[in-house]
Amino acid sequence: MNLITEPWPWYIGGPAIAVVLFLLLFSEKQFGMSSNLRTLCAMAGAGKKTTFFNFDWRQYRWNLVVALGAAAGGLLANNYMTDGTVGAIHQDVVLQLNSLGVEGAGKDYMPEAFFCTDAFSNPKTLVLLALGGFLVGFGTRYAGGCTSGHAISGLSNLQLPSLIAVIGFFIGGLLMNHFLLPCLL
């Protein structure tokens, strides 16, 4: 297995995420990516009218640096660390997605129809992306964290609210995946 060019199995990816958690904790920081969105609101001046954003965002600049690094890592990995193959997707899922009009499972990293530049000229796709993003931004802040802050950091710290949040992630995710997506796509 070539770890530079081939997709990683779960037993490489999972422990690697724990290494990121380790590095952040030992840098006196927390692993939680959704806080960035709040920091960006505060940077843009939302604190003048809304107390939730009235804090010294400069203290959280490190989090934005991590996000910039994440984008750089995405650029590196997607352009220079791939042989173009992706991990196999279960055949039932491929067929089901095809019947919903979504192509590329098991061949492309992302469904091109939604995530490549052509999506900008499809109003329906734009609305779905905007709706999804809004739910992600609203929900993570309401819940007080996302997959990194609650599922990884919070569960590792045996936090009951994090377990409740993860159960919520799956209630919402299963509702969308099984009942809403087939109507929306």
């Binding site: 709040r38 984008a71 650029l75 993003g133 739910l135 993570t140 045996l158 949040a165 995710g173 099984h178």
Partner: protein
């Protein structure tokens, strides 16, 4: 400056992991919610299992950071409704776009530019939460 480079490097590592492990892949998230693959459960489970060891070791042995300070790990606010309702709302968005907040940045860097729309509306969503916060059940 040294610390900025450290945070940037941790970010790069995170970005590479998200792409290579396919945790940022819409298809993988779809497959996870269909319970058709162990992949995503393995990733999250292994990360939590090792994270648990790291976190509990830090707390039990009062480990010190790279900079020599005792590591503080804040607790989450003891709420029930907020993580449940907020979690459900996030879950709906996660299954729709396939993107958690971390992978949003990773995917934009990787060149999936429509994710910029997800980022913009996620910022708007966070802003609306901040405005509505006093009226929501927590």
């Amino acid at each position: 400056m040294k610390r900025v480079l450290l945070y940037f490097s941790i970010g790069i590592l995170f970005g590479i992991i998200m792409i290579k492990s396919e945790a940022a892949s819409w298809f993988r998230i779809y497959e996870m919610f269909q319970f058709k693959s162990f992949h995503m459960y393995g990733i999250i489970g292994a990360a939590v299992a090792l994270g648990l060891v790291v976190t509990q070791a830090i707390k039990r042995f009062k480990l010190r950071s790279f900079f020599g300070e005792e590591i503080q790990i804040p607790s989450k606010a003891k709420l029930v409704k907020a993580p449940l309702f907020g979690g459900i709302i996030f879950g709906l968005g996660w299954a729709l776009t396939g993107a958690c907040p971390g992978p949003i940045y990773v995917l934009i860097g990787a060149g999936y530019f429509p994710v910029l729309i997800v980022l913009a509306s996620a910022i708007l969503g966070t802003y609306c939460y901040g405005v509505l916060k006093p009226r929501l059940p927590h």
